[in-house]
Symmetry: C2
């Protein structure tokens, strides 16, 4: 139930991205049942391909913790991370990854499962339909 | 000859990282024979695993260009990029990647060659010995 609750917070962040004209992806990082960081995709606003929701959440959570390792944390993200974000989660030694919709175009799992840290637990498909629906609506409205 | 000249600038950045107690990796991004961005690894200083030299160089170059695509740019980096950085270079659609030493532990080419954008040209081994020597000295001094 907590997974659904925290994923709803990530979906709220995705909605903020959408409202700002950004591809709607949102993330939160949770430690000891508390949200440490909230972020959404800002690649257009910041004119920076590295500004994915996950990257900003990692930076914010590390600042909040005062440490660069997130082995006690769970990242909730509405879309499967790309290889860049998975590579960052490897360095952060993330404890647990929970994502919503799979990304059949650029999801990390398509390229190499070893992109994540071997100790990171993975749960997929949480509120996947809501996440995918928000993405589909965004791209449909842009056509 | 230009490759050697620009890689020397990347090595200068790596030395700055080393002087600051950071793993010595440096990068410059060049467009039309002009250096747009210089950066070095700052993961310890910023307490942030995403603060690799390449990531910061991408962010800085995009800001300098006012655009998030780097298809007309060359990135010079002293060490083979990791999957996170290769994944970022994919999104940036980097024109050309030139690196020094190979990274036999976490180089992107070990995991999946498709981490980079298909249009990115790659040149390896430029001043590789200087780069590897700086890394070896750094880790030897820390033991």
């Amino acid at each position: 139930m907590d997974d659904v609750r925290f994923m709803r917070e990530a979906l709220r962040e995705a909605q903020r991205a959408s409202d700002a004209g950004e591809v709607p992806v949102g993330a939160v990082i949770v430690c000891a049942n508390r949200i440490l960081a909230r972020a959404h995709n800002l690649t257009e606003t910041l004119c920076d391909v590295t500004a994915h929701a996950e990257m900003q959440a990692i930076t914010a959570a590390s600042a909040a913790l005062g440490g660069k390792f997130l082995s006690e944390c769970t990242l909730y993200v509405t879309l499967e991370p790309c290889p860049m974000c998975a590579g960052a989660l490897y360095w952060a030694q993330l404890g647990r990854l929970v994502y919503g919709a799979a990304d059949p175009k650029r999801g990390y799992s398509l390229l190499a499962s070893s992109l994540l840290h071997p100790l990171t637990e993975v749960t997929t498909g949480v509120l996947a339909e809501e996440s995918a629906g928000m993405l589909q609506k965004f791209f449909r409205d842009r056509r």
